[in-house]
Amino acid sequence: MADHDDEAPATGSAVEKSEPQKISAGTAVIPTDPFENPGEPPHRLRITDKDPAEEKKAARQVSTLFFLSIIFSCLAVAAYIAFPIKEGDTGSIRLNNLFLGLGIALGLLSIGIGAVHWSKTLMPAQEITEMRHLTKGSDATRAKAAEVFELGNKESGFGRRSLIRNSLIGAMVAFVLPGVVIFRDLGPKVDPNVVLRHTLWKKGMHLTIDPTGTRIKASDVTLGSAFHVIPESLLKSDDLLEEKAKAAVLLMRLNPDDLHEPKGRENWQYNGIVAYSKICTHVGCPVALYEQQTHHLLCPCHQSTFDVTENCKVIFGPASRPLPQLPITVDADGYLVAQSDFHEPVGPSFWERDR
């Protein structure tokens, strides 16, 4: 398709006609025999330019729109008073929102449409041509600017007095440091890598229902049911949300034969009742959806899917690690309790997680 063998190669040396300076056109092809710009087509008059009656009509329309705007704005004020909010009545909020909004919107639109209509029908439509100039300053201006810098350099000795210059550069770097360091106390003093490893769960902690905090009897957990669970001490905790964001657990009862527990974890379940962290190992959303038939847990945020029968290993989605399992058993009265804390950090992965 490059049918321009007859063109002189333009690389780096071409000069565009309209610009007197030698500015490289790069690999642009400069036509040797360019078309002439035919100039602007003849201007066509609008109906408001030709017909005084139409012009008058347009002027009336514009002022009518501006008057309408006044009326709508007043109506908006009236709506503010006429549609008060009555406590407990959501309908009153809807009316307040609707009529106040409509009044303001129509008031604004009338101004806008009026102004645009004014410009399009009554203001001159003939386009005007203005010349451009190269963006850069003229050679004289640039020389003057260079001179200013040179004078500045000479009078201050910035280039010559290297000790002053270098010590200043050092000072400019150093003065930022306190401004960086001061942000250390945005977070508490303790190492987050330690805090992230522990939750409220510990030996003998009762499993309770989220959000009421009632204990769960193992015999009440029927086959196929699922419970959203929090540790019993959570509701008394000072850091309720922070602790809940780590300690939330999902409890399910499956047929014990369906569970394929890895070695050493056979007794982490009780009669087919298993407890897994509800915090997704991807980015920490609650894995809240339990598919009873397939025994899959689905995270609604990014669709990571975990297989409860296979120790919650990831079978789909962006997560990488299985949900951590909470070892559970029952106390003397048959209520579910934790055997210990989780044996690994819950939630999203982090750099020192496996240290």
């Binding site: 398709m1 490059a2 321009h4 565009e16 309209s18 610009e19 490289s24 790069g26 690999t27 642009a28 078309f35 710009n37 035919p38 549609f83 909010i85 909020i93 929102n97 009529f99 106040l100 909004g101 303001i104 919107a105 101004i111 806008g112 009026g114 102004a115 209509h117 004014w118 410009s119 399009k120 203001m123 041509t129 010349m131 451009r132 963006t135 942000f183 945005l186 977070g187 508490p188 987050p192 890598n193 992230l196 959203h228 949300l241 922070e242 964001a245 939330a248 997704c280 980015v283 920490g284 959303c285 609604p300 945020c301 962006p318 990488s320 999203p348 992965s349 982090f350 750099w351 496996d354």
Partner: protein, 530 residues
């Protein structure tokens, strides 16, 4: 009037400014209004947002809700959530202003996006406007940051989950991730600091940066003067349009009120972000089908597309490629956008100023690259709704994700190829029209028995628009002054080949002459132009 003007000018010398910009010329075209929409919706955001600050409490102190909305009465929540509910249910016009603020923010980012596409596909970013493109890109990022920080302030269930996802992403960054999260949230997630910190950013730091950048953006617009479409009378050395006073001022001022009015109209008719339906943040529940605001979708979608088990432990340290790869893809996409003008300028080596816009078809490779990037963005964005697509169209989520993964990787290449072919086809059509005129649909039988279609010749105005465009050749590698061909120059040459090997040259005068001779004897309507 004269006295007042005199009073001000004697103290400000403002007459000089009025003289300079008062009759400045602005070209008129609908596509130039997209940036205006962004600007005006930003003004609406500032106005409505200021009103909201009078009532909003950026505090995570726990309170028990006692306001007018009965279903949430007695529920524990943060003061931020409570004050947002109070704005919605106890202050007349409060809900309206919340909705104006939110809708205006959505429009702001949408308008910026469309404005960027307009600039990109018409080549308006070329010299001398590369820096202004970059400033515009920074404005886009600031707008996203404003959107996300604002979305997080009410401390409702959805915004809390959004923050949880950010927390998880940040923790996935090697070495420093945990510490960044820890410092950001003032301890463990969610903590009690994040809302007030985001509030400082949302109403102070980010708006200040936005306004400063916006000032620079508009100042450069004035200095560079606006670009214009190719057309008769329009050259690279002039600007044809309407003067600021009065026509442009009336049009633009009127348009501001129209944008404002449309936003208020939407806000009075359509609910947005009904936090009272979601309830306060709690780390445990989340409902299925939750969606972020649309502009965050591409980031959320990128997270969803990582295949399972992309995590390794190296030397005892955990590296989460399921987080890092999406981040790298997003940064790569945004980085390409940010630096594209400099890349293209380097490839063409063209140091001239360009004030005439390219029709997208006349820069086929650039247009195709744009289409490829848009496809990547669209695939990531669509992936953020993978669960909704699955439930609405009764598909399995696995299938939807696999299709979106395919589209993310292969889609951009397909889009590139199709777009480039379409552009070249349109250019060929333009050539035909420039050479032979429009098909008139009239078939004529010549005395010799031959049938031909009569072509209507172009006016010289029409032809000018079709033939006046820039053309580039692929770069031939040549040794530099020291007789060396640098590796960088080789790379430049190969990219230049990729850009300009397939091209359609504009019609030349000689070709027009030749076509007239060829069609000698054929019947043409009218006088034939020249």
């Amino acid at each position: 009037m004269g006295a007042a003007a005199n009073y001000i000018d004697e103290r400000t010398s403002i007459s000089g400014l009025v003289k300079e910009v008062g009759r400045k010329i602005f070209p008129d075209h609908w596509s130039f209004m997209l940036g205006e929409v962004a600007l005006y919706s930003f003004v609406v955001i500032l106005l409505s947002g200021t009103f909201l600050t009078f009532f909003f409490q950026p505090s995570m102190a726990e309170v028990t809700y006692q306001g007018s909305y009965v279903p949430l009465k007695g529920i524990d929540m943060s003061a931020a959530m409570q004050s947002t509910l109070n704005i919605s249910f106890d202050i007349r016009g409060g809900l309206l202003f919340r909705q104006i603020h939110h809708w205006a923010a959505l429009l702001f980012i949408a308008a910026i996006g469309l404005h960027m596409l307009r600039i990109y596909f018409t080549g308006a970013f070329r010299k001398p406007r590369e820096l202004n493109w970059f400033i515009g890109f920074v404005l886009f990022i600031l707008a996203l940051a404003e959107g996300f920080t604002g979305y997080s302030l009410p401390d409702d269930l959805l915004s809390g989950n959004g923050l949880r996802i950010i927390d998880g992403m940040v923790k996935g960054i090697p070495v420093i991730g945990v510490w960044i999260s820890y410092l950001l949230f003032g301890g463990e997630f969610p903590g009690t600091a994040i809302v007030s910190r985001l509030y400082s950013l949302h109403i102070m730091l980010l708006p200040a940066l936005l306004i400063a950048m916006l000032g620079a953006h508009l100042l450069l617009l004035v200095i560079n003067k606006h670009t214009q479409w190719a057309g008769p009378g329009k050259t690279n050395d002039n600007v044809v349009g309407v003067p600021v006073m009065p026509v442009f001022a009336a049009k633009a001022g009127g348009f501001f009120f129209i944008v404002f009015g449309v936003i208020v109209l939407i806000a009075s008719l359509f609910t947005i972000n009904p936090i009272w339906n979601y309830g306060p943040y709690d780390p445990s529940p989340v409902s299925a089908g939750t969606q972020p605001d649309w502009y965050i979708g591409f980031a959320d979608g990128a997270l969803r597309l990582a295949p399972p088990h992309w995590e390794v432990v190296w030397g005892g340290y955990t590296v989460s490629f399921n987080i890092l790869v999406p981040i790298v893809v997003l940064v790569g996409l945004l980085g390409t956008v940010a630096f594209y003008p400099f890349i293209e300028g380097w490839i063409t080596g063209d140091k001239r100023e360009h004030h005439i816009l390219d029709r997208p078809r006349n820069a086929p490779t650039r247009t195709a690259v744009g289409a490829a990037l848009m496809t990547l963005y669209a695939a990531l964005w669509g992936a953020a709704s993978s669960d909704l697509m699955a439930t609405h169209f009764k598909l399995s989520i696995d299938q939807v994700i696999h299709v979106m993964q395919f589209l993310t990787v292969i889609g951009p290449f397909i889009a590139f190829w199709i777009t480039k072919r379409v552009c070249l086809g349109l250019q060929k059509k333009d050539r035909e029209i420039a050479l032979h005129g429009h098909e008139s649909g009239r078939i004529v039988r010549l005395p010799g028995g031959e049938y031909i279609e009569v072509h209507t010749p172009l006016t010289e105005y029409e032809r000018w628009t079709l033939v006046s465009f820039n053309e580039y050749e692929p770069l031939m590698v040549r040794p530099n002054e020291r007789g060396v061909v640098t590796p960088l120059e080789r790379i430049r040459a190969s990219i230049s080949g990729f850009f300009f090997e397939d091209r359609i040259s504009p019609v030349t005068k000689a070709e027009i002459e030749a076509s007239h001779h060829e069609s000698h004897g054929a019947i043409e309507e009218g006088s034939g132009g020249h």
